[in-house]
Symmetry: none
Subunit: 398 residues, 2 copies
């Protein structure tokens, strides 16, 4: 984006992101996709009357994106240039308060015998056990040489750690052998600036090993994905809009926070999301609404559940569109096809509801999106297109 | 373009550029576009029988181009790399003779009271007034310190200036407060090399102020868009073709001249354009025919007028194609959708009439172009494609 083309006005843009919505023709369901099979009268009538269709490729052809690159590209950032580390995504997903300078890591409990990691998942101990042991560690090791420790349990054997202090470089190797039956591994600094951070991390690992000597399964920890909050240009600065993120899942609020968006906390359901949108509509120009349920159904490989997730979103549309945004975008951060039970590389269906009067006159699903007038573009090209439709971009050249 | 692939032969390529031809489905006219609604039997039968379709994106997705970038990209130049300044476009549009080393500026008369610009447009004085005052300035200030002054009136309060002399750098800020009720602004040099140019420009502004003291409305001038004829590689050198531009509007002849094309002066109407094409057909390989009326209708938001403009061009086609060019290209430099009354970012419909025997079998309009076999490409990629169809590009690699 060329900053000098950005226009300032109060035109509203709404991104309704159905996580993992993209899918592929499903042999078990007459080769339809969930978007095609779902009854979604509100979305489809908007699509037919005021909508143009297309597809977005999150990272590149054939590349399956994680949630980080999927969302960065939606918001106009080059996902190959900017990165949100795994440790950062993990602490954001656990709703931990990540601050500038923090060093974040994904972690899990493991079983160690005679300095050999015999089970990297500590027999997949139940979540309650992880909660108990995390509390034990937090009480016993609140800090190491002035570096504060923040620990939060996840599901099963997983947890996350934030090291809060000065000079904590993220240039560290994983403290994880990555395979069972290999010796314990400590974190190595990748450069001289990371020597202090590796010392703190490794001291933590040693202290925990002493503390957990009596535990049967979980008597050690593995840490990986060391990362700091990335230095990414702010969304608002880039586009000259105040932006609000409304999401039920913490990870997506976290990603929005990393991009400098304001974040509406604690929306438990779609009704609360709509209320947050309504209540804040006058104070912002850009709104990011994140729906997680489509992705969960795709991950489960559950076609009827994904259809139901889409049909549950559809009744929100009249209220959203009654706010009269200049552009309403409905798309996903990536595809999560039910037959694949996971993220995929497939282009993501895209619907733009605009005020130019143009329309493709088609319902919103993958097959129509192939022939939509937007064509197939990269996700990072979506923001300029939406800004254009939002009348927020000046002419280039005389 | 890779020069080493260029082949030399006498195959003819014709670009028929309908300025701003691209449009969007129009709710007022049953969601048709002007190209779709126009009766253009000659274009459509050529399209169906020998045509392939696609779309071109002038600068980038979401970016609305001016005439400069629109045409530069059509001729295979990267519009982000090469630029034709605003001052240059203005003097070209007024048919002034721009030479190497000239410094060009857009200008207008304004009203100044107590060193405050109270009206940047001098009450939009009539064109006759501007003609009279421009003559007054030309007589009184023919040169400043050896720098010759060329002044030409435009419409209403607008005019253009060429400063002709040595060491006239274009690195100058606008001598324009850009808003009413702000103090008079002089031009500042952006670097040391532009000190002399800023001195000349500001001396001109001061001399004019003294000269126009008695005028009621137009007692000052604002100058902006300082620019020199850009150093752009010649079209003929790039592609190994002699090129002729035929256009009724001076700005497009001017752009062609900047690219080193020969220019046919004074074609008043389409019959004269056809005659110029016929008379010069043997002496050139590339022909750029520019039609302005489609853009004018789009700018006016006048759908029937745009339909009529297309229908007026259609009868030219049999005579143009009877010359038997290797490739006939019909497209635009950008879209000017009637509902938007101005240039837009929308991809531009593209028709290539070729001699390969291939065809898409469809009439020429935006909707068919979405599914045409060329696909959606960047305008700067059009020249290589046309050269290929013109059998003017060698194989790359063994």
């Amino acid at each position: 984006m060329r900053h000098e083309l950005i226009l300032n006005n109060d035109n509203k843009l709404i991104f309704l992101i159905l996580d993992g919505v993209g899918d592929i023709p499903n042999p078990q369901f007459s080769y339809t996709t969930p978007l095609e099979a779902a009854k979604k009268p509100n979305i489809d009538s908007l699509a037919r009357e005021k909508g143009i269709l297309g597809r977005i490729i999150p990272v590149d052809i054939g590349i399956t994106p994680g949630s980080g690159p999927g969302h960065l590209s939606l918001f106009g950032y080059d996902p190959l240039e900017h990165e949100i580390g795994r440790g950062v995504l993990e602490v954001l997903g656990l709703n931990m308060d990540l601050q500038d300078g923090d060093l974040a890591a994904r972690a899990n409990f493991c079983t160690i015998r005679d300095n050999i990691v015999v089970d990297r998942r500590a027999g997949r101990i139940p979540t309650e056990e992880t909660v108990r042991i995390c509390e034990k560690i937090s009480s016993a090791i609140p800090e190491i040489e002035g570096v504060k420790l923040l620990i939060k349990p996840g599901k099963s054997h997983r947890f996350a750690v934030i090291f809060r202090g000065k000079n904590l470089s993220e240039h560290l190797t994983d403290a994880d052998p990555h395979k069972d039956h290999l010796p314990v591994v400590f974190s190595e600094p990748k450069d001289d600036k990371a020597i202090f951070a590796s010392h703190i991390v490794n001291t933590f690992i040693e202290k925990v090993a002493v503390l957990l000597k009596g535990e049967k399964a979980a008597n050690g920890v593995l840490l990986r994905g060391f990362s700091a909050k990335p230095a990414i240009p702010s969304f608002s600065d880039n586009y000259g809009m105040k932006a609000l993120a409304i999401a039920t899942y913490p990870m997506y609020r976290g990603i929005a926070k990393v991009l400098g968006m304001d974040v509406k906390d604690e929306t438990k359901d779609y009704q609360e999301m709509l209320k947050a949108l309504r209540d804040n509509y006058d104070s912002y120009q850009f709104f990011f609404l994140h729906i997680k349920e489509t992705d969960l159904a795709g991950e489960d490989g559950n076609f009827p559940q994904k259809v139901a997730a889409i049909e549950t979103v559809d009744p929100m549309i009249p209220e959203i569109y009654s706010l009269n945004p200049q552009v309403l975008v409905i798309t996903g951060d990536h595809s999560t096809p039910c037959p694949m039970k996971g993220h995929s590389w497939h282009p993501v269906p895209l619907l733009l509801v605009t005020k130019t009067g143009e329309r493709d006159g088609m319902a919103f699903h993958e097959k129509n999106c192939v022939t939509g007038s937007i064509g197939t573009i990269y996700s990072k090209q979506l923001m300029p297109l939406v800004l254009a439709h939002g009348l927020r971009l000046d002419k280039y050249g005389a």
